[in-house]
């Protein structure tokens, strides 16, 4: 008990004012990971937005609509999960919404017989997702460790979704493919794999 009292004295002497820029210290690793992926893709790949001349803006809107929505939702989920005592079920459920929309568009695509698959650039796409997803995942882990997640698997899963979403956002401008089946297989599946890894690794990487 005496030790506890002495600990209380020590902590009290340090003061209760929270560290400055708490939000910035969460956002900075996420932004750095995103910037690294965008820059890496720009340096390694040619022909950003080249497919828009032939296919119009719609495929890009669908891809970025999905990836940016997932990116923002997963970042918000991490922020919420990093604050003990907050309900996070809504944030977790929201993470499924972009996937639900892709599933709906995929069914529509299949119904009208638009099944061009797998396209010609799927290997580049998979390689880009495989390289960039872990980079952005690492940024999400660093950001989340600054907070205090208490559900480590859930937080790991959200970090994995963030990693995948960033990779897709960075690579999508260079991708000439536009079928929903392609998007489901070569974007959504790798993102879900990264999320699964996050689920598995969360307890090890996020423990505090």
């Amino acid at each position: 008990m005496t030790d506890t009292n002495s600990l209380i004295d020590q902590l009290a002497n340090r003061g209760a004012a929270p560290p400055a820029n708490a939000l910035a210290r969460f956002v900075a690793p996420l932004a750095a990971a995103g910037a690294a992926c965008v820059l890496g893709a720009a340096l390694a790949l040619d022909g950003a937005f080249a497919a828009m001349a032939a296919d119009g803006i719609r495929p890009m809107i669908v891809k970025w609509g999905f990836s940016l929505a997932l990116l923002l939702l997963s970042a918000f989920a991490l922020w919420a999960m990093g604050r003990p005592g907050r309900r996070t079920r809504g944030a977790m459920v929201a993470l499924g919404v972009p996937f639900g929309l892709v599933a709906a568009l995929l069914l529509l695509d299949l119904a009208v017989g638009n099944t061009a698959f797998p396209g010609t650039t799927w290997q580049t796409c998979l390689a880009a997702m495989a390289v960039m997803s872990p980079m952005a995942f690492a940024g999400a882990i660093v950001a989340t460790r600054w907070l205090a997640p208490t559900k480590l698997r859930r937080a790991g899963l959200a970090a994995g979704l963030f990693g995948g979403a960033v990779a897709m956002t960075a690579y999508a401008p260079y991708c000439p493919e536009h079928g929903m089946l392609y998007m489901a297989v070569f974007y959504c599946l790798p993102i879900l794999v990264m999320a699964g890894l996050g689920w598995l690794l969360g307890p090890r990487l996020l423990r505090w």
């Binding site: 506890t4 009290a12 209760a16 560290p19």
Partner: protein, 169 residues
């Protein structure tokens, strides 16, 4: 009360922060004692929680009550504590105590040995092994959960066996 104290502490009142931490320690101790009993690890765990409360204070929203935040941290640290030790109190059962050979404690003065145990463990053993209550009944009598009671009995029996062995040497 905690909310007022932390608000004052955040405004720079270190006396209020000290009072907040003392009050937090008391509440965390009571909460954890219901789950693991009042054994020697309890105070270590309370200290872990206080350090976490201090280090992660930037995750507390100023416009939200402190208690759910603090309780979530205490629960997390308790689960982490069990994970570190590679066990959960749920795994403890009466068999662990029955596994102590019957003649281990024969020919020794049980009351003398019990006096050498922490009071909570000695009381748990008196209730379950001398008075013959179940863990649930004993827990209900002294106001702790079944898991905490099992843990106290288990640790008490282990310690008792060690003491009996030392006496024989």
């Amino acid at each position: 009360m905690l909310d007022h104290l932390i608000a004052a502490a955040r405004a720079g009142d270190s006396a209020a922060y000290r009072q907040f931490l003392a009050e937090a320690a008391q509440r965390i101790r009571a909460r954890l004692a219901r789950k693991i009993g009042a054994d020697s690890e309890l105070e270590d765990l309370v200290q872990d929680c206080l350090i976490a409360v201090h280090q992660k204070r930037h995750t507390l929203d100023p416009d939200r009550p402190v208690a759910p935040w603090m309780n979530a941290i205490a629960n997390y640290k308790l689960i982490d504590h069990w994970r570190k030790r590679g066990r959960s109190p749920i795994e403890l059962d009466d068999e662990a105590d029955i596994a102590v050979p019957a003649d281990t404690l024969a020919e020794v003065d049980i009351e003398t040995l019990l006096e050498k145990l922490p009071q909570a463990q000695a009381e748990a053993i008196r209730l379950t092994h001398i008075e013959g209550l179940t863990n649930r009944e004993a827990g209900a009598r002294i106001g702790v959960g079944v898991s905490a009671m099992k843990l106290r009995v288990h640790r008490g029996m282990q310690r008792l066996k060690e003491l009996a062995d030392e006496d024989r040497l």
